[in-house]
């Protein structure tokens, strides 16, 4: 971790700006651009600060970066991007992508993404990532030149395809199961939390109606007037306080959302492993059958049923020369196949080793982050309770003076 980029470079997504432009189909579109600022963290002489570099990127470029990283490092649990569209909203929150609160939370999420990548021991060394942060023009072309797109398509197929692995790795099966559970439970949690927030908002806001009535009532009362009036003021304070409280809670929801999306990334690694395993099994199976074929041709016995065997029986045997050619081809293929199998096995073992290392790293990170998130949630609740106590203590005093 000592060499990771995050330690050498300060990275922030400091601003968001609405832009209009023309898209690929020459139609006008509105989008938001984000300003990425970077500054080297190095001891400067005489307390000077390193200069700040900056460039603008839009969300789709972040998406391109992430796709590139996922494809190029399939054994890594790649940090997720903040959500594309506002999800799990409760009524006051806007589902509009252009809504300033959404844009603000997205800005924070994008910064968090960059910091995650920059502090990852493997990903931070990637040159495309570095260029993303520092090279304004020509970055898209650079990415495309890596030829990752081909891998991207096959990866997409892998993620969605259904196939059965005969000897699955138990650890990866368990991990995939865990990632499914995590996704399910976090999305359920976020949905209910949004509903709870909605209801709490309602409770607080209705109290705001007291203020006006108390004020109007106090106009006809002599002795009760002051108490009513000042109590009404506290009711207004109470009703207004929920806005900040729930805005803070959105940060908690965002922390959970990150791990909801992380679960997807975890699942992708498991699927990649499954695909490799399946490939390996297929390759081994293919080799075995070729070897068998070879043996049969060489010894002239037919142990297994094959259409070729039947047709040759029906329509006459091959000549010895034909058979020899076939054997030679098969022997070549077998040799190729054995080499391929060897390299595939090696690949698979490397994958498992490095994937598992990153998974352990991820697990620690996840446990640390989620525990902190839960603690910060408790802190928010405590703050809300303290505010409530203050308001109602004040209100009680006013009421007792009525």
């Amino acid at each position: 971790m000592e060499d990771c980029l995050a330690k050498k470079m300060e990275i922030t997504v400091s601003e968001a700006e609405k832009r209009t432009g023309r898209n690929a189909m020459n139609m006008q579109e509105t989008y938001t651009a984000y300003l990425i600022e970077t500054r080297a963290v190095e001891p400067q002489s005489e307390g000077q600060c390193a200069p700040v570099d900056s460039l603008w990127r839009r969300y789709s470029e972040f998406e391109l970066l992430r796709t590139y990283l996922s494809v190029t490092y399939p054994h890594i649990v790649v940090p997720p991007l903040p959500e594309k569209r506002a999800d799990f909203v409760w009524h006051k929150l806007s589902a509009d992508n252009m809504d300033p609160d959404f844009v603000e939370r997205r800005r924070i999420g994008l910064e968090n993404f960059l910091l995650r990548v920059a502090s990852h021991p493997v990903l931070c060394q990637d040159k495309i990532f570095y260029s993303f942060l520092t090279q304004e023009g020509g970055w898209r072309e650079m990415v495309n030149e890596t030829g990752f797109q081909i891998k991207a398509d096959s990866r997409l197929k892998a993620l969605n395809a259904t196939f059965r692995v005969k000897n699955p790795d138990k650890r990866f099966t368990e991990l995939k199961h865990y990632s499914d559970e995590l996704q399910s439970v976090i999305s359920h949690l976020l949905r209910v939390r949004a509903r709870v927030a909605d209801r709490l908002y309602g409770v607080y806001k209705v109290h705001g109606n007291y203020g006006r009535v108390f004020s109007e009532w106090s106009a006809i009362e002599k002795e009760m007037g002051d108490g009513l009036q000042s109590a009404g003021h506290h009711m207004d304070v109470y009703a207004a306080s929920i806005d900040d409280i729930l805005e803070e809670e959105e940060h908690y929801a965002d922390q959970l959302k990150e791990y909801l999306f992380y679960a997807e990334a975890l699942r992708a690694v498991c699927r990649k492993h499954e695909l490799m395993q399946y490939d390996l099994e297929m390759a081994a199976q293919d080799l075995t059958s070729k070897k068998q074929q070879c043996e049969e041709l060489a010894t002239g016995t037919v142990r297994t049923f094959s259409l070729k065997g039947m047709t040759s029986k029906l329509f006459g045997q091959e000549t010895p020369e034909q058979r020899e050619t076939k054997v030679k081809i098969l022997e070549e293929q077998i040799q190729e196949g054995e080499e391929q199998l060897k390299s595939k096995n090696l690949e698979s073992r490397d994958f498992v080793k490095s994937a598992w290392a990153d998974i352990e790293r991820f697990k620690e990170q996840k446990n640390h982050d989620l525990k902190e998130a839960l603690i910060s949630y408790a802190v928010m609740q405590i703050s809300m309770c303290k505010k409530g106590i203050q308001v109602w203590t004040n209100a009680k005093e006013c009421f007792s003076k009525m």
Binding site: Y178, E181, L182, V185, I186, H188, L189, V192, R193, R195, V196, D198, R199, L200, G202, V203, V206, H207, N209, Y210, V213, E216, W217, A219, I220, E223, M224, G227, A231, N367, L370, K371, L374, I375, Y377, A378, V379, Q381, I382, C385, K386, G388, I389, W392, T393, A395, K396, F399, S400, M402
Partner: protein, 393 residues
Amino acid sequence: DTSLAEVNSFSPSMPISPSSMINQYKFEDEPELRDLFITVDDPESHITAIETFITYRVVTKTSRGEFDSSEYEVRRRYQDFLWLKSKLEEAHPTLIVPPLPEKFIMKGMVERFSDEFIETRRKALHKFLNRIADHPTLTFNEDFKIFLTAQAWELSSHKKQGPGLLSRMGQTVRAVTSSVRGGVKNRPEMFTEMNHYMETFSQKINVLDKIAHRIYKEEREYFNEMKEYGPIYTLWSASEEDIADSLKGVASCIDKCCKATEKWMAGLSENLLPILHEYVLYSEILMGVLKRRDQIQGELDSKVGALANKKTEKDMFSEEIGKLEDKVECANNALKADWDRWKQNMQCDMRSAFTNVAENNLHYYEECLATWESFLASQTVDLHVEEDSEDRP
């Protein structure tokens, strides 16, 4: 700390002295001088061929001389309470007779004989009788005494003696027609002010009633969602190892806050909502009282007006006019005194109701705070333990 909870613990076999009941009532009117204690409890269902109805047990303990005995126990049904109220209004048209719970409840679709409905009604009937007992004039009303003491058949026969339904209807008709004409022109400033006050008060109390109900509804919806929220953390903890305890801790906090929310709601429904509702009814009662005063004045005014041009007949009717003038003066004084008393009680009731609400809310937040603070403490202890164990080789 209110009397109502303790009422339920009374049983016929338990002798309770009037003096021991002094502490159990929160009415402001000189509790040390009370000599009449009434409880309404033990609702019972009665099924006859014609109808089904509920009776309530009314227990009276008194040291007053006018009562033959010091303790009475009778059963009354809602109809009997209605009768009592109308008799009191009849006898004292410009006194403020306390409100009765309504015949039917429209909103909420509460079933007529659901336990909730019966209990709400019982509490309101209890308050009704005690308010009458506290009233300096109404407490000595004869019909009130009969209501408290007469056996069922005695009450029935007494009821039949009074002016019948038709004559009561006639009174109402006269009241309506005369109010159209009279009382407003020569109305003393004081009563005009009272009218203006009641118009505004009535408006505001109705709005407050609606707001309070709305808050209750929102709290209930919040409670329903919270019930579902906590268990999800528990479910999650089943998939985790390292953070399972933290997740379970959060689940437990949320469940505790959920229970606190129930108390939060109960505080509102047992305390503020009934009081606001009573004062909604009171505002109608008071408007009625003011009208009746106007009507009494109207009788005088119209009589005086009719004789204005007939100087010769003035002497003949001077006695009648004198009586009417007395009637008006009595009515005005009675109303003025009762008004002041009502305003004092209203202020007291409102003060205590809203203070209770504030206290109730404080308890809610204090309970939730304690829950989350203890969770936080447990988490930070863990962190320190973890840090210590990491330092060790």
